[in-house]
């Protein structure tokens, strides 16, 4: 395998993962999806690190990725505790709910577009087609024997 091409391909994949993670981090409003995007950026960096480690024939890239995973685990623990606390107070996972925490000289973000109403929930549940024949209950056999 051509090591230079391998390195190049992995760098491009890592850069794309990082870019997609940036889009998610900037655009989404659900706190959990924002954290998923951050983890995706870390994945992109890990891919890049591992391929550089192989190219330099050095364990440093893999060791550093082990530490990236460790820090991601810490981050997930703290972030989930925070998100749970925020969710208990507000009842929503929306980051915009907390915009009153901004600096005093910052303009508030005013939503100009309102979401379209969510689709109606199912009014009637699907039925199963009746199968088989209802057994005829014979009165004599099912009489109480008490």
């Amino acid at each position: 395998m051509d090591e230079l091409t391998l390195l190049y391909s992995y760098q491009v994949v890592g850069a794309m993962l990082l870019g997609i993670g940036i889009v998610g981090f900037l655009a989404r409003r659900n706190m959990i999806v924002i954290f998923l995007s951050v983890e995706m950026m870390l994945q992109g960096v890990s891919v890049s690190l591992v391929s550089w480690g192989r190219f330099n024939n050095d364990w440093g890239g893999q060791v550093l990725t082990v530490f990236v995973i460790t820090v991601a685990a810490c981050e997930a623990a703290i972030a989930l505790a925070l998100v749970l606390g925020l969710f208990r107070r507000s009842g929503v996972l929306d980051v915009l709910y907390w915009q009153s925490l901004r600096e005093a000289n910052q303009e508030p973000y005013i939503e100009h577009e309102l979401p379209e109403p969510p689709p109606e929930p199912l009014k009637s549940w699907p039925h199963l087609t009746p199968a088989g024949v209802e057994p005829r209950i014979e009165e004599d056999l099912h009489r109480s024997h008490v």
Binding site: M1, D2, E3, L4, T5, L7, Y8, S9, Y10, Q11, V12, V13, A15, M16, L17, L18, G19, I20, G21, I22, V23, G24, L26, A27, R28, R29, I32, L36, S37, E39, M40, Q43, S46, V47, V50, R54, N56, W59, Q62, T65, I69, V71, A73, C74, E75, A76, I78, L80, A81, L82, G85, F87, R88, V92, L93, D94, L96, P115, E116, P118
Partner: protein
């Protein structure tokens, strides 16, 4: 602007437009067109990279990279956060496959066990608290979708353009080692960036070190030898994070307990 640069600019524009069309917004959400544009942009970016050697290697790598990137895009663009999390699990599987393809066996397993097994499942638990079907208003809107998509696409475009310069075939002659502070580096700053790349390792050298048969033993030796202090620090960090998370949860409980008892008395 040369043809290659034009291609990068086109790919960046198409990628931004595709992501913008796919992000959740009110009305005019054309997911299919967005997906088509994003795939074209991905193809343009991928066309810059020369194919890997053997057919089997190339196919495996292409499939892994495609799975990773497509599921990453789905993670970011799906409205339902539960679907996002599940797609992210697929991204993790793709990444662990990429690690395995590089010969990083331990990392591949660690990614599946720690990320997909522990972190992602915990995220899913929290997601079950809220509306998991993506009906909440904040799942159906994005912040500044156009600007965000452009930021990510420009980032990818700039990075890949730099990479293509570093790895360009005309500059890939015999690598000349250039010391950062030497006279040659000072005389021609940034002229031939490939000069900074070391020679690619031979297969024998890789077998002896990174691709050694005793992979985990070697990695463990490296971790607990050269990086022992860092391992201890990471362990301490994990412990502190655990304590912090517990303390955060306990704090709210204590406050509520006191409030309810004040209310009673």
């Amino acid at each position: 602007m040369t043809g290659v640069q034009g291609m990068f600019v086109t790919a960046t524009l198409l990628g931004a437009l595709g992501m913008w069309l796919m992000l959740p917004r009110r009305g005019f959400q054309k997911r299919r067109w967005g997906a088509l544009l994003a795939v074209v942009s991905l193809g343009l970016f991928a066309a810059q990279v020369p194919p890997l050697g053997a057919t089997l290697d190339r196919t495996v790598f292409d499939v892994l990279a495609l799975v990773t990137l497509v599921s990453a895009v789905c993670t970011v663009t799906f409205r339902s956060p539960v679907y996002s999390a599940v797609w992210f699990g697929l991204t993790l599987l793709g990444t662990s496959g990429l690690f395995l393809f590089q010969g990083a066996q331990f990392l591949s397993m660690a990614t599946i066990t720690i990320y997909a097994g522990a972190i992602l499942v915990t995220f899913l638990f929290v997601l079950m608290l809220s509306d998991p079907r993506g009906r909440a208003y904040y799942d159906r809107l994005s912040w500044e979708a156009m600007l965000s998509a452009s930021a990510g696409a420009v980032m990818v475009g700039v990075l890949t353009m730099t990479l293509s310069k570093v790895f360009s075939p005309d500059a890939a002659g015999p690598p000349v080692p250039v010391k950062p502070g030497s006279a040659a580096a000072a005389a021609s700053p940034g002229e031939t960036p490939t000069a900074a790349l070391p020679a690619p390792p031979s297969a024998q050298a890789l077998e002896a070190n990174v691709l050694s048969a005793q992979h985990v033993a070697r990695l463990g030796g490296e971790l607990f030898g050269r990086h022992l202090l860092a391992v201890e620090a990471a362990g301490a960090l994990l412990f502190v994070a655990l304590l912090g998370a517990t303390a955060m949860m306990a704090q709210g409980k204590i406050e509520r307990f006191q409030r309810s008892h004040h209310g009673d008395g």
